[in-house]
């Protein structure tokens, strides 16, 4: 349970939220596939880790779930964003952009320090 896992947990939550925002209500399998695709298959995701993360988001009120029927006529649990989830997504997106921007400045070869 070191720092890495925490960061990973955080980013996974963000990815989930973003995926649901982009795709609309979606089941766990769909979210997993979508994350993999979006990452250009760079991420090797254990699908199982998704479910505790989904549960946490649901407990925190960012997403809500409902049983429904998939495109292939399979019974599945669909997750959708709540208003709080939308807010959280916006907030975390901003945070990430800021973090990556700062990190990018550190990592890119220094321009003129002026």
């Amino acid at each position: 349970m070191g720092e890495k896992a925490d960061v990973w947990q955080g980013t996974l939550a963000l990815m989930i939220l973003k995926t649901i925002e982009a795709m609309g209500p979606l089941h766990g399998y769909g979210i997993a596939r979508r994350i993999e695709q979006t990452s250009g298959n760079l991420l090797s995701l254990n699908y199982g880790t998704l479910y505790p993360a989904l549960l946490k988001l649901e407990q925190e009120g960012s997403i809500a779930s409902e049983w429904g029927v998939s495109e292939n006529n399979r019974k599945a649990k669909f997750y959708k964003l709540t208003r709080a989830g939308r807010k959280q997504l916006a907030q975390e997106t901003r945070n990430w952009e800021q973090t990556t921007e700062i990190l990018a400045r550190f990592l890119s070869p220094s321009e003129d320090p002026a």
Binding site: H27, G48, Y51, E58, Q59, G61, A76, K77
Partner: protein, 882 residues
């Protein structure tokens, strides 16, 4: 905010386990199905597709596990599991559970109830603001450590003292109230103007007494107690300004006291009036009738205040040697006056209850030890199957917690019931003097105490098996029939526990024995008269009609002669104060023809009618009793008691000697005509004081007690007795009808001794039972452990008698050690008990011997059962069994 919300959900999820599990299974199943569908579409075989899907998921069970950890709170989940398991374990063993829970409940109930008393009586006894600043102020003389103040002394103290924010006084009085049911005597209190301000009490209705309202010439005003206001005025708000006739004198009602007002020294007073002294004697420095109460200035200690009043007393002694010679002064916390007499009893009871709790805990501990011993196999198996020591320990802790929770809950519930008992069992009169007990109940402090002892028990009970777990090697437990060092360790520990239990039981038994003996001696103390077949009733004639001496004499004569005509009455007599009430109401005497240097020869003074001594059954030692004809027209005479004769006429015949008041004023000179054997005037445990008995007819008062010697049971005569007086004298108050036996048995002294003797006796009985059960447990366990050894011995030719001896010897050794330690502790604890003992010392040999014999007897009896079992072992079976 969000983590909190998640917490709530996780907590709630603890209760929806099954449903969630099913949903999770469904969800994962649908996930796999969709993945398998996709995989098949991608060209895999169904088996391959499923394998791949599961692999990609990371396994179904690990996923579920991770999900579960997130869905609830794992440590609570574990705890609940442990609790469920503990309850199952306890239910499997109902005998153990019941005994353990009951023992704990008993110990907790006893200590919590007693603590509730301690809390009510000792921790917060006074319902006034800043109660620790309130002090009682006394004068004192050689005879009275706590003497009342005289009015002039009070005024001087008030003027001269620098330590009191305010000093006030009160004194008891009473009124006759005409009610539709007849004349009713009502207790009242006279107070100085600032009395209620000193206490910090403001009337609920109307006003407080004004400054100066206690001086002669002020209008008659009265403040009502809340109870009186409700009872006599129906709680109407317009009573303020109304007039009430008290003993035929009109008083204006100016206030009503609040409902929660209490004043223990005058608990039953209904009317509160001011002093307004007018009689000459009330202004004498030698007339001590007032009790002082003061509020200390901030930062002044009780010691400093005491020193200050002592200085003033010295000054007054110099200034007024005639009256104030030998008059010291003292200051005590006011709470001492209210609860001082029950403090030692409560502390002893708290000690007793504590010891009982200790025994109960030790007993449960040894039960737990036996249990953990018999569960070694189970624990070893669980350990081998992967339960960590931490998890096993937490299991023990949980079991202890469950046990203690049940025991405490039961204990506290029953304590809640027992603390209600005193309000029902204590007579109303006595309750009025202990108003602090009205607040008895399980308040926050008492519950905190209950929590603390439960916590102590829980820690003890979780440590015991845990320690045992550490001692015993886990792997040993798996070995069939192993009885390694752990068994012996336990046996040693168990023996020590039982020895300690027996010792504690001895301490309690000795305490109970001593208190019981004290009570017996107290109730059989030589009173100097025959208390059986004596009825008594108090009479109060209004001053307006019987204030003149001749009127009071006539009233007394009429009532006595009327009662003596009643069937079942042998004789009747009058006294100003009943015997076995209190030492006090004294006279200062000076002997004629002896040098006098102003000392105060303080003696009990009683005014009695001519037939008083014969009615009581007292014993005349010398001379004669007075006659009914000896009234104001005859020379003044007096009967003295043996103590006075011994103290002032050693080796002399006192008959014919004379004494008078300190000035030897001619009217006060009396001749001694008789010496009566000492009559117990004070409480049962008090000393005999020198006493003088003046003829009622020479020293009459319209307020007196009638004593009646009956031929039948005195109780049955009481209604007729009051009826006869009421009928013949409708204008006098008749009250306090009772028998002298009841008076003695219900006296506060007897009551306190009795309740402590019974309570400690109860504790001791339970302690005896518990410790003997404990001993039985240890011996029985030892026999079960030694079955094979005994079998071998018997196979080698040991007689049954030798086996008995083997077992009984072990028990006897434990018992003997326990008893010896207990006796030593009891003698050490005796000092603590001395304040409660009467007529016995804490090292009373017969009591100690009786306790040792009693406990020894029961101990041998308890160990006889396992010894018998040991002796009846069949050696062949025993050798084969293991």
């Amino acid at each position: 905010m969000k983590p909190l919300r998640a917490w709530v959900f996780r907590l709630a999820a603890l209760f929806t386990n099954k449903q969630r599990e099913r949903q999770l299974s469904d969800e994962l199943e649908s996930h796999l199905q969709m993945h398998v569908d996709d995989n098949i579409r991608a060209g895999m075989t169904p088996a391959e597709a499923r394998r791949h899907a599961i692999l990609k998921l990371g396994g179904v069970e690990p996923t579920k596990e991770a999900y579960r950890d997130r869905s609830t709170l794992p440590f609570i989940e574990h705890l609940l599991q442990d609790v469920r398991f503990a309850i199952r374990q306890l239910r499997k063993n109902p005998g153990f559970t019941c005994v353990a829970v009951l023992m704990l409940a008993l110990g907790i109930c006893a200590s919590v109830s007693i603590f509730a008393f301690v809390d009510a009586a000792l921790i917060k006894p006074l319902p006034y603001p800043n109660p620790t600043r309130l002090v009682s102020v006394f004068e004192n003389s050689a005879a009275f450590p706590h003497a009342n103040l005289s009015y002039p002394d009070y005024l001087d103290w008030k003027r001269l003292s620098k330590v009191f924010r305010s000093l006030d006084v009160y004194t008891g009085t009473g009124f006759l109230l005409s009610t539709p049911a007849g004349v009713e005597p009502v207790p009242a209190t006279r107070v100085s103007d600032g009395f209620f301000r000193t206490l910090g009490v403001t009337p609920m209705l109307g006003r407080n007494f004004h400054a100066g309202e206690d001086l002669a010439g002020s209008p008659n005003t009265v403040i009502l107690s809340y109870a009186s206001w409700r009872k006599r005025f129906g709680g109407k708000k317009d009573v303020i300004g109304q007039t009430i006739r008290l003993s035929d004198v009109p008083y204006t009602i100016v206030g009503v006291l609040p409902r929660n007002f209490q004043f223990a020294p005058r608990g039953r007073a209904e009317f509160w009036i001011t002093l307004r002294f007018t009689m000459p004697k009330e202004f004498r420095r030698s007339f001590h009738s007032l009790s002082g109460i003061a509020r200390l200035k901030d930062g002044v200690s009780v010691q400093a205040a005491s020193a200050d009043v002592k200085t003033i007393a010295k000054q007054l002694e110099k200034q007024y040697p005639e009256s104030n010679r030998g008059q010291g002064a003292s200051v005590f916390p006011f709470a001492d006056l209210v609860v001082g007499h029950i403090r030692p009893i409560l502390l002893v009871l708290l000690g007793g209850a504590g010891l009982l709790l200790l025994i109960a805990c030790m007993n449960v501990t040894s039960l737990l030890l036996v249990r953990s011993e018999s569960r070694r196999r189970e624990i070893a198996v669980r350990n081998a199957l992967g339960a960590s020591t931490g998890r096993l320990t937490s299991q023990f802790v949980t079991e202890a917690l469950v046990l203690v929770t049940m025991g405490s809950a039961l204990g506290v519930l029953s304590a809640n019931w027992t603390v209600q008992l005193p309000t029902k069992l204590i007579p109303a009169d006595m309750m009025a003097a202990m108003p602090f007990l009205l607040g008895l109940g399980l308040n926050a402090r008492v519950l905190a105490f209950a929590g603390a002892i439960s916590l102590f028990a829980a820690v003890l009970f979780s440590l015991t098996p845990t320690a045992h777990l550490a001692v015993s090697e886990m792997r040993d437990g798996l070995a069939e029939g192993s009885r390694g060092s752990a068994g012996n360790t336990w046996r040693r520990l168990g023996s020590k526990l039982v020895t300690a239990e027996l010792a504690v039981a001895v301490v309690l038994l000795v305490g109970a024995g001593l208190l019981g003996k004290s009570l017996h001696l107290l109730l059989h103390v030589d009173l100097g008269f025959q208390p059986d077949h004596l009825a008594t009733v108090a009479v109060a004639g209004p001053e307006t009609r019987y204030g003149e001496p001749a009127q009071a004499v006539a009233l007394g004569r009429r009532i006595v002669s009327r009662i003596e005509t009643m069937p079942g009455v042998k004789s009747a007599a009058i006294t100003s104060l009943l015997p076995v009430s209190y030492n006090g109401h004294t006279d200062w005497i000076r002997f004629v023809g002896r040098p006098y240097n102003g000392e105060h020869n303080e003696v009990n003074q009683r005014d009695v009618s001519s037939s008083y001594f014969t009615t009581l059954g007292a014993k005349l030692l010398r001379g004669r009793y007075f006659t009914d004809a000896e009234d104001a027209s005859k020379p003044r005479v007096v009967v003295i008691n043996q103590a006075l004769a011994r103290q002032y006429f050693p080796g002399e015949n006192p008959i014919g000697k004379q004494f008078g008041d300190t000035a030897l004023s001619p009217k006060s000179i009396k001749q001694i005509i008789g010496v009566v054997d000492d009559i117990k005037e004070g409480s049962l445990d008090s000393k005999i004081w020198p006493a003088v008995y003046y003829p009622f007819n020479q020293s009459p008062d319209p307020y007196f007690s009638v004593v009646v010697r009956t031929s039948q049971a005195p109780q049955s005569l009481l209604p007729a007795l009051s009826a006869v007086i009421r009928q013949s004298h409708p204008d006098v108050g008749v009250f306090d009808e009772t028998t002298v036996d009841n008076l003695i048995h219900d006296s506060q002294t007897a009551y306190l001794h009795r309740s402590s003797a019974w309570l400690v006796g109860g504790f001791a009985a339970v302690a005896l039972l518990l410790s003997v059960i404990g001993l039985y447990g240890v011996v029985a366990y030892s026999v079960s452990q030694r079955t094979r050894e005994i079998g071998v011995r018997m196979a080698l030719g040991a007689e049954r008698g030798a086996v008995y001896q083997l077992i009984l010897k072990e028990a006897a050794r434990l018992t003997a050690v326990g008893i010896v330690i207990g006796l030593v502790c009891a003698m050490a604890a005796g000092a603590f008990l001395n304040a409660l003992l009467f007529g016995v010392r804490s090292w009373d040999i017969p009591t100690l011997a009786a306790v040792a014999a009693l406990l020894g007897f029961f101990a041998i009896l308890a160990s006889f059962i396992p010894a018998r079992r040991a002796a009846s072992i069949n050696p062949v079976d025993a050798l084969r069994s293991e």
